[in-house]
């Protein structure tokens, strides 16, 4: 099994690479879209700003290549944090920007609630809607690490894989067939985050 971690210059990839290497024999970290062809699974990590990330992905040929491999070739795909948000049709951070569009929905700023602070930083509960899938054998309500100001809301409720009670409740994981997204950082949420990664990698 070959896992590709997309390097689109938004963040350090060391942590996610080290985490994935624990469960996958062959891991490629690449900024060359052509490498997606040889991957069985693709991970899109990322911290940063929606508009800039999409601009980079488009300019360097990633949008076309990822669409082919994920939408047409049905390769398993996991977006993490910004990587999950980029799955949307449109994002409102840094201007109105089209996303990858793999899962219909939009990305907007978290709702400011009284007694809560934005960015949402720290450990919070993740309640999954399905117990098989990414959250198999993961205790419901386990704390995972979040650091974000924006969140992705899928248009189709069936694509909601997990929610977190903050900002009025937001979607913390999504799934549409072979496409997965998690708003938290599994690579920074040892050990439960690692178990979630293992679930993805063993599908």
């Amino acid at each position: 099994m070959v896992v590709l971690i997309v390097d689109y210059k938004t963040s350090n990839l060391g942590s996610i690479k080290r985490a994935v290497e624990m469960y996958a024999p062959s891991v490629i970290v690449s900024d060359n879209p052509a490498d997606a062809k040889k991957a069985d699974k693709i991970i899109l990590p990322g911290i940063g700003v929606f508009a800039d990330a999409m601009s980079y992905l488009k300019k360097h040929g990633w949008v076309d290549e990822l669409t082919e491999q994920v939408v047409y070739n049905n390769k398993l795909f996991l977006g993490i944090c910004l990587g999950m948000q980029l799955l949307a049709d449109i994002g409102y951070e840094g201007g109105d920007t089209p996303g990858l569009g793999f899962i219909p929905g939009s990305v907007a700023k978290l709702q400011q609630m009284p007694h809560e602070r934005i960015p949402h930083v720290g450990w919070n509960e993740v309640y999954s809607t399905q117990q098989d899938s990414l959250f198999q054998n993961i205790p419901n309500g386990a704390d995972l690490y979040f650091v974000h100001s924006y969140a992705f809301t899928p248009r189709n409720p069936e694509h909601i894989l997990a929610t977190t009670p903050y900002a009025g409740g937001f979607v913390s994981a999504v799934q549409a067939n072979n496409v997965f997204g998690v708003q938290f950082h599994p690579e920074k949420s040892t050990p439960v985050g690692f178990d979630i990664l293992r679930n993805f990698l063993s599908r």
Binding site: I47, G122, N124, P139
Partner: protein, 269 residues
């Protein structure tokens, strides 16, 4: 709900270089790396590493060593000390920092915070403010490891930093720092009541109840501490047990995949 964070702060003071075995580059490893490794095995919430030498000596952040730290760090890592430019921030994030902490440089050029937030996102920009109560009884910002007064009031600076895009504020009382006599609750309250971004209390923790006070009396979202963990037998894990026993939301500790779901979570209620 979002949990209270207990964050050990590691002060990186070593100036002597250590040649790593099997590495061609020299590194200032000292006591930081072993501490990171230990904290990692104990599921600590986050770690803050402050390069005290870089701050005072006006030299560039030590990316090579940060890379070495992050390769052993599987919890969120904030790195500060001597961060002065966009290039520094970019390189630190690349080297493995999840968040960067900026203090003195923001006073020289506040637009650095705005640019950094736009480029990297607010969530990875922590602005650190060191405070001293001046002769008029107002909290004033100090820079360069608490040695240089700025003439700017903490209350005003906190609001400005939030407006420019800081994701979190790390507020340290210079007088309380290292004293282990409690956080400066008045200072922390001043900031938390004037901003809507998370505030990390720093400076003065001597016992777990000090952390409890900072959270309940002053609305801190997180508590950072150095001396209490460095010089006493108290630990972040025990701190969270204490806070949990007093009814505060703290991270539930996951016991691992092999345990059944009921025992899988251990929360201190």
């Amino acid at each position: 709900m979002l949990k209270i964070r207990v964050i050990p702060t590691l002060l990186w003071k070593e100036t002597g270089l250590v040649k790593g075995v099997g590495f061609s580059s020299t590194r200032r490893v000292g006591t930081i790396l072993p501490a990171i490794k230990v904290y990692n095995t104990r599921q600590v919430d986050e770690l803050i590493v402050v390069d005290v030498v870089a701050t005072l000596g006006q030299r560039e952040p030590d990316y090579t060593t940060v890379d070495a730290f992050s390769s052993h760090c599987f919890v969120p890592l904030t790195v500060g000390g001597g961060v002065r430019t966009i290039e520094h921030i970019k390189n630190l994030l690349k080297a493995g920092a999840d968040k960067v902490c900026i203090n003195s440089a923001a006073f020289d050029d506040p637009s650095l915070i705005k640019k950094a937030a736009m480029l990297f996102g607010s969530q990875c920009i922590v602005v650190s403010i060191d405070a001293v109560k001046n002769a008029r009884g107002e909290y004033e910002c100090y820079t360069h490891s608490g040695t240089t007064p700025t003439g700017i009031l903490v209350k005003d600076w906190a609001v400005t930093m939030q407006e420019l895009g800081a994701g979190e504020l790390l507020i340290t009382s210079i007088v309380h720092d290292g004293s282990m006599s409690g956080y400066d609750l008045e200072l922390i309250s001043l900031v938390t009541s004037n901003v809507q971004i998370p505030v990390i209390a720093s400076g003065g923790a001597g016992c777990y109840d000090d952390m409890y006070q900072a959270i309940t009396q002053s609305n801190a979202s997180a508590v950072a501490a150095a001396s209490i963990f460095h010089f006493t037998q108290q630990t972040p894990l025990e701190a969270k047990k204490y806070l949990g026993s007093k009814g505060l939301p703290v991270r539930n500790v996951y016991m691992g995949k092999n345990s059944n779901k009921q025992d899988g979570l251990k929360a201190w209620q």
